[in-house]
Amino acid sequence: MNNLQYQLGRSFIYSILIGFALLYLAPLYVMLITSLKDVEEIRSGNLIALPESFNFSAWAKAWSSACTGSDCQGLAPYFWNSMRIVIPAVLMSTVIGACNGYVLAQWQFKGSNFLFGALLFGCFIPFQVILLPMAKLLAVLGLANTVTGLVAVHVVYGITFTTLFFRNYYIAIPSELVRAARLDGAGFFTIFWRIFLPMSTPIFVVTVIWQFTQIWNDFLFGVVYSGPGTQPITVALNNLVNTSIGGKQYNVDMAAAIIAALPTLVVYIVAGKYFVRGLTAGAVKG
């Protein structure tokens, strides 16, 4: 009897878990099969029916010829825009964050904790409150509607998070280490370079993944600070979906959505462990 009860309980647990797993997967499945159907099949079939044959023409169209507004070059140029924004922004914000975190954790001075608190606040503010003056500043600097401008914005507002990550990582390292190294005559940068950097690989991975995901997925800064030709992929995707020249093409929409999601999905699948760590670190805020 007891055994039967146990078996029932286990099957209940597994059916709930697997049921929800299917629910979470369903949108991805629907996107994928829709992207492989042609328009006629979408109209005659239904949401979950498998396509009769795999048809990749919607993917080709989404990549290179679909219209995003009046411009019909597909997502490709915007995909590369996003890359040109993401790569420098991630590298710069990560390096600056590492230096800041090193100082805030190991070279504290009078007021450094206050500074950290003031910086931390930046993780929480709704960006709406800085959108207007930043637009003005970018215009004054001649960076409005440029990739450089977007990189700068992402670096400025990414530093808060990257600093937080590194500071919380380095604070766990005993301060005797720095003291001993200084007695041996090592300076600020030598200690950073020879002692701290070699043990920082995990936090670098966490930070790079976090920043990559945040910046790749950004829509707000993209839509406000980019112009025709410099838009990131999220903005282009939204334009593509809302452009209905020649009728709605859900297969192209879905292919485009998957293309836009692919880089962060790949990162998640390859380095999920670090992704989750960044998520919880970024969420709980130390």
Partner: protein
């Protein structure tokens, strides 16, 4: 000079960040605050008109709809994500096989952009060919599902998509919390004859209080900032029925050239975030000291 730099190196390294933050965060917040007291439209103009923009804001029906929506969205989104996340975490914590795979599946939406999420759900929920058609094909010919184009229901489609995206994350937070529970406590309870449900309800759940508050803060924060999901899923429509404050701010500040009004709405949003954050940080700091 060189010697000064060498001894003050830590401060020198931090200085650029400090200056940028001072300008681009605190300075900009001040600028936006100032702007919200002016009658700026297309361009900033510094003629002060007191609280006029705030009065205009709160007598604007569109803003009031956005606030109502934010309330509905935040409460439902937080509540459902918490219940679902906790439930899945408890089940996952019962030593199941394939835990890693299942956990990965629950969390992957979190890696995706809200714009992609919105695009996907827009297709799934579309009244013509989406869920409704699927139900008809399965034989439920009277099934109707038109929330996406229904003024009163559109905001709930945003709840659905947001829960799908973020509940896995809440699950991960609770799972980490559950893993930290002392096994001996659970064993002791069972020796005393407590059932599994009693153990969870009376012993484990109370221990989850900090995780619970942490998750609420994160989710509330996501909710207040929500912009891209609405933009991609409903475009704020039909009409402006599913607008949230962030969409209101964007529309008025950038599309409608009502800078003063947009600035006022941004300040109200900041106030909202602070109202949640300050008590939370205060209690966190106090508990750390004691």
């Amino acid at each position: 000079m060189f010697k000064y730099l060498a001894t003050h190196l830590p401060k020198v390294v931090l200085a650029p960040t400090a200056i940028v933050m001072l300008v681009c965060m605190y300075g900009f917040i001040g600028w936006t605050a100032g702007l919200s007291f002016t009658k700026s439209r297309m361009l900033p103009q510094w003629e002060f008109v007191g609280l006029t923009q705030y009065e205009k804001l709160f007598s604007n029906p569109r803003w009031m709809v956005a606030l109502d929506n934010l309330l509905i969205f935040t409460l439902l989104f937080i509540f459902i994500s918490l219940v679902l996340g906790l439930l899945l975490a408890i089940f996952l914590d019962r030593k199941v096989r394939g835990e890693g795979v299942i956990r990965t599946i629950y969390l992957y939406p979190m890696a995706i952009s809200f714009v992609v999420t919105g695009t996907a759900w827009k297709w799934i929920l579309n009244p013509g060919l989406g869920l409704e058609k699927l139900a008809h094909d399965l034989g439920f010919s009277n099934f109707e599902f038109r929330w996406l184009v229904d003024q009163d229901m559109a905001i709930y489609t945003i709840v659905i998509a947001a829960v799908w995206q973020s509940s896995g994350f809440v699950m991960a937070m609770f799972l980490a919390g559950l893993r930290g529970v002392d096994d001996n406590l659970v064993k002791a309870a069972q020796v005393d004859g407590a059932s599994v449900i009693q153990t969870y309800w009376h012993i484990i759940l109370p221990l989850m209080k900090p995780v619970f508050f942490g998750a609420v803060v994160v989710l509330a924060h996501i909710a207040i900032k929500s912009f891209d999901l609405v933009q991609a899923l409903t475009g704020g429509g039909p009409g402006y029925a599913s607008d949230l404050p962030a969409n209101f701010m964007y529309t008025f500040a950038f599309s409608r050239a009502q800078m003063g009004l947009g600035a006022a709405s941004a300040m109200v949003m900041l106030g909202g975030v602070l109202a949640i954050l300050v008590p939370y940080l205060y209690s966190e700091l106090r508990s750390k000291k004691s």
